[in-house]
């Protein structure tokens, strides 16, 4: 027992199992031609309202969206999203603060991905924990509501840095809360250079056209299998 220990170099990503599952998911999504967007934000930023409007608009365009919703305990979000008529499935995480790739894999077991054009994954409301977990998505979207203040990107730089696009929600309340757009945008660009930022109001519909155009363009430029 007193002999010197042997040191072996390992150099493995601690989350390598999650990454392996995420890689397999990404390949499946690609093969099925489905474009996958994950949504992260703090609790109450308006993910569900934004997603409900997004699903409804895609349905109106005869596209086939679906959503997976991570929620700590309730199924309220899933029930709200189901009003859009799109397939919705709840992932109850219990006390876990984030979604992992294996949970996505399991939730998708009964779904035929070939029948979908878009899949949205609404993460648990949390700006810290989801940042390290790849879910196989094509696009990571971070939401920030005008009521949260301008400095969220500086306080949670990691999640904002890993996002591909930022959506500023509840823009209809901007004036009431003296929201400083220039400062918010500068803070976003400080943690993620050239980050596209879209301002929306799910309530009034403001900015939703711009978001739909962005989504269409992002899904076209993703390397997707052409449909027959």
């Amino acid at each position: 027992m007193n002999s010197k220990p042997r040191i072996v170099e390992v150099r493995q990503n601690v989350l390598k199992h999650n990454d392996e599952v995420a890689r397999a998911l990404r390949q499946r999504f690609h093969n099925a031609g489905v474009f996958v967007v994950s949504l992260v934000s703090s609790p109450g930023a308006g993910k569900t309202a934004f997603l409900e409007k997004t699903l409804t608009r895609l349905k109106q365009r005869d596209l086939r969206p679906a959503a997976l919703v991570g929620d700590l305990a309730t199924d309220h979000d899933a029930a709200r999203l189901a009003r859009s008529q799109a397939p919705v499935k709840q992932i109850t995480t219990g006390t876990l603060c984030h979604l992992e790739a294996a949970m996505i894999q399991q939730a998708l077991e009964e779904w035929n991905l070939e029948e979908l054009d878009f899949l949205f994954i609404e993460n648990v409301g949390n700006l810290v924990c989801p940042s390290s977990y790849d879910l196989g998505e094509n696009l990571r979207l971070v939401l920030l509501s005008v009521t949260e203040g301008e400095d969220k990107p500086l306080k949670y730089p990691t999640i904002f840095n890993t996002a591909d696009v930022a959506v500023v929600t509840k823009i209809d309340l901007a004036e009431a809360v003296e929201f400083n757009w220039a400062q918010t945008n500068a803070n976003l660009q400080a943690v993620r250079r050239d980050m596209p930022v879209i301002q929306v109001s799910a309530k009034t519909g403001q900015g939703m056209d711009e978001w739909m155009a962005f989504l269409a363009s992002a899904s076209r430029s993703a390397d997707r299998t052409p449909r027959g």
Partner: protein, 131 residues
């Protein structure tokens, strides 16, 4: 993956569920690697952790104690090496340390970096195995 291996009364002792699930992943990968290298007694687990990994060192250390309890790692130390943020600065055209407050800015000229080279590490670096 989060497992059901802990008795519920232990959970409130842990600072964070997030760090607990990270600790479980560490044990998972460490167990595999220990087997791969002959399956001996693990005396220490070395992890490299960057500030951009979203994991708090102190919380991870206490979560590790909880996760390792009654496993083969019960007596294995967790040694965390903190990795500083290094960015590629397009203005300096060089690798630079990240700013202490604004991690994604070059500490030398203040330009927002286009690429993060180090700082996201959450890596099982090495194992100390008893001979």
């Amino acid at each position: 993956m989060p497992g059901g291996v802990f008795e519920n009364e232990l959970l409130p002792l842990c600072d964070s569920m997030h760090e607990l699930s990270i600790a479980l992943s560490i044990l998972d990968v460490a167990g595999e690697e220990a087997e791969h290298h002959g399956g001996g007694q693990v005396e220490a687990i070395h992890v490299r952790l960057g500030p951009l990994a979203g994991v708090v060192k102190e919380a991870l250390l206490s979560a590790y104690q909880l996760a390792a309890e009654r496993t083969r790692f019960e007596h294995a130390r967790l040694v965390i090496e903190e990795v500083p943020v290094v960015v590629y600065c397009s203005s300096c055209q060089a690798e630079r340390p990240g700013d202490a407050v604004h991690w994604f800015r070059c500490a030398v000229c203040g330009t927002t970096a286009s690429k993060v080279l180090h700082g996201r590490e959450l890596e099982l670096a090495a194992l100390e195995l008893a001979e």
